[in-house]
């Protein structure tokens, strides 16, 4: 248990559990712990983040200790340990992207959304952060949006404006 206060039990949907079950079959008998990363991805796609309650539940499901889930969820940068905006804009901030203007794009996103890196907009729609090289340096600058990690390449201030507008108007 990570948070002692407000610890609510949660229940994974049978749909989700069915997907977990399939994932576990990919690994040898008794090595179900290997399913941890793919299972956490599914949890995050469902809830938007990985809560302490969800981690405990995952531990239950995989028959491992809760600490084994916490230490993994905190190690890997893709897992959000607190709620985020509905859309999280993850902009690459590494060298090759910066050579062609990634820093300007991040400054523009900060200005347009009116929130600092890691914060959520008032309406709960957006948050953003800089991330390390996304293996798309030839199409730089780039950003991605989970949970499907859709990719937006060759960003300009105009294309970012358009993207934010489109997401805002999408129900």
């Amino acid at each position: 248990m990570l948070s002692v206060t407000e610890h609510k039990e949660i229940e994974f949907s049978s749909e989700l559990v069915k997907q977990f079950d399939e994932i576990v079959t990919r690994y040898p008998q008794g090595k179900q712990k290997s399913a941890l990363l793919p299972v956490l991805h599914l949890v995050q796609a469902e809830y938007g983040w990985v809560s302490p309650e969800a981690m405990d539940k995952v531990a239950d499901y995989l028959q491992i200790k809760p600490i084994e889930v916490y230490e993994v969820a905190t190690f890997y940068t893709m897992f959000f340990l607190r709620p985020q905006g509905k859309y999280v804009l993850e902009v690459c901030r590494t060298g090759p992207c910066c050579l062609v203007g990634a820093e300007k794009i991040m400054a523009h996103i900060e200005k347009t959304l009116g929130v600092k890196e890691g914060e959520i907009t008032q309406d709960g729609m957006f948050s953003w952060r800089g991330v390390e090289c996304l293996a798309a340096c030839g199409m730089a600058p780039v950003l991605q949006i989970g949970p499907e990690y859709t990719f937006y390449e060759n960003l300009t201030e105009e294309s970012v404006d358009k993207l934010i507008e489109t997401l805002r108007n999408k129900l």
């Binding site: 399913a35 990363l37 190690f75 890997y76 897992f79 060298g95 050579l99 062609v100 390390e132 293996a135």
Partner: protein
């Protein structure tokens, strides 16, 4: 046009689908290997080909395969390293997106050669679209009888799965990748034992890069000798180069090893020169981990020979005046780029990505980031420059995995070749924030070689 062995059919419409891929000669190497060859013969062909690992280290693949332990009654595993996270490298994403069946085909042949009955492709978690593409390709291949039980009636069984990472550069290191596949934090293991003896779930394991596995397909189709005729010297075959930075045509190019660097940068067949009519200042030729070189030294070796895109030529001159082919992440810097800023950016990356197991790496990368930040933002002291060199030396060679070296080399090489730009940041703190130091000292006119070397 140069010879292409991997991307020959990349522009065929629908090549990502099984049917089109098959109609264009796909999966021939599986038929040839499983129906007419023994696993040992496949390993021999790969040895003959001279293929070297394309993930960065350049270790001969055939030799690596022959080290795999084969104890009775124990499973063996092949794990494909598709964690692609080295800054400047994006060839594996490209290959998996556009021609996923090439990787699947290579995986089948390589798994057969190694005697693996279950194999995994470890794809970095952010590449969710590529994970979907691969899963679909695997289903198609299975449907056509190229995966599953008794493939093509050969009696060989193989299951192939995709495993997503969670966003951690260190999981590209093969023992960290194995830990990660076991559902743990990506902390590299102490070697020995090597994965060939004890890898995933303590079973003998081979880890190979996406491009390495893909190269097995032309090797089996054309024979190891045929493959070895392409390229130059011990750099056989072709290599996918990810070109980024200030180029007219950044992108992924398949080159025959031995291509002159100058041709790669300036010819229209490849990068088409430096963008916006600017001049070239520097290049990082093999992904962020390899030493940066000023324009003159990337175009020519210290002896005045044209520098070639090959393992040997890029390393010519050692770390004094050379670099490495690495992963083939070719990053070009134009005259407006600030070397101090980029070095700080890279050191932030390594600090962020250090797994934290070894003190020299965990603490040293943090110090380097801090000192470089100070220099870049005009609060640096002259002594900071030597302090950086000192810290980088104390990391190098003193860590469990090569991430420590990878963090140290970019800093050491930037100072080696661009020391005056670091000094200028100290002597002109205000100006350094407003304008770039320029390239008068580095390129076009090319500096005298002695000047560059003399700084060490």
């Amino acid at each position: 046009m140069a010879r292409k062995l991997l991307l020959e059919n990349i522009n065929v419409p629908g090549i990502h689908s099984f049917d089109v891929y098959r109609q264009n000669g796909g999966y021939r190497s599986v038929e040839k290997a499983l129906k007419t060859m023994t696993p040992e013969a496949v390993v021999e062909e790969v040895k003959t080909s001279g293929l070297r690992g394309r993930g960065g280290a350049g270790f001969p693949t055939g030799m690596k395969w022959s080290f795999l332990a084969k104890p009775e009654g124990r499973e063996r595993y092949l794990v494909c390293n598709a964690d692609e996270s080295e800054p400047g490298t994006f060839k594996d994403r490209y290959l998996m997106t556009h021609i996923p069946h090439l990787l699947i085909e290579g995986m089948i042949v390589a798994s057969f050669a190694l005697g693996a009955k279950t194999s995994y492709i470890y794809v970095r978690g952010e590449m969710m679209p590529q994970i979907r593409i691969l899963e679909r390709a695997i289903a198609e291949a299975k449907n056509a009888g190229f995966l599953g039980k008794n493939i093509l009636g050969s009696g060989y069984d193989l299951e192939l799965y995709v495993h997503p990472g969670g966003g951690a550069y260190i999981c590209g290191e093969e023992t960290a990748l194995i830990e990660s596949l076991e559902g743990k934090r990506g902390n590299p293991r102490i070697k020995p034992p090597f994965p060939a003896i004890s890898g995933v779930w303590a079973c003998p394991t081979v880890v190979n890069n996406v491009e390495t596995i893909a190269a097995v397909v032309p090797i089996i189709n054309d024979g190891g000798e045929g493959y070895a005729q392409v390229g130059i010297g011990r750099s056989t075959g072709t290599k996918l180069i990810s070109a980024s930075g200030n180029l007219n045509k950044p992108g992924v190019y398949e080159i025959e090893l031995g291509l002159p660097v100058e041709e790669f940068i300036y010819s229209d067949e490849y990068c088409g020169g430096i963008a916006n009519g600017k001049k070239l200042k520097a290049v990082v030729a093999g992904g962020s981990s390899v030493p940066i070189l000023p324009a003159n030294l990337i175009l020519n070796t210290i002896n005045g020979q044209p520098r070639l895109m090959s393992y040997e030529s890029l390393a010519d001159g050692g770390f004094q005046t050379g670099s490495m082919l690495g992963s083939g992440g070719f990053i070009a810097f134009d005259e407006d780029q600030c070397i101090v800023r980029n070095t700080w950016n890279f050191s932030r990356f390594y600090h962020h990505e250090s797994c934290g197991q070894c003190s020299p790496c965990r603490e040293g990368t943090g110090w380097m980031e801090k000192v470089l930040h100070r220099l870049e933002y005009g609060h640096g002291k002259m002594s900071d420059i030597d302090l950086l060199v000192d810290v980088s030396k104390k990391i190098e060679g003193n860590t469990i995995c090569p991430l420590g070296d990878a963090a140290a080399w970019p800093v050491a090489s930037a100072i080696r070749h661009f020391r005056d730009e670091f000094e200028w940041h100290v002597t002109h703190p205000k100006e350094a924030l407003e304008r770039n130091y320029g390239i008068a000292n580095y390129a076009n006119p090319l500096p005298k070689f002695e000047e560059v070397v003399g700084q060490n």
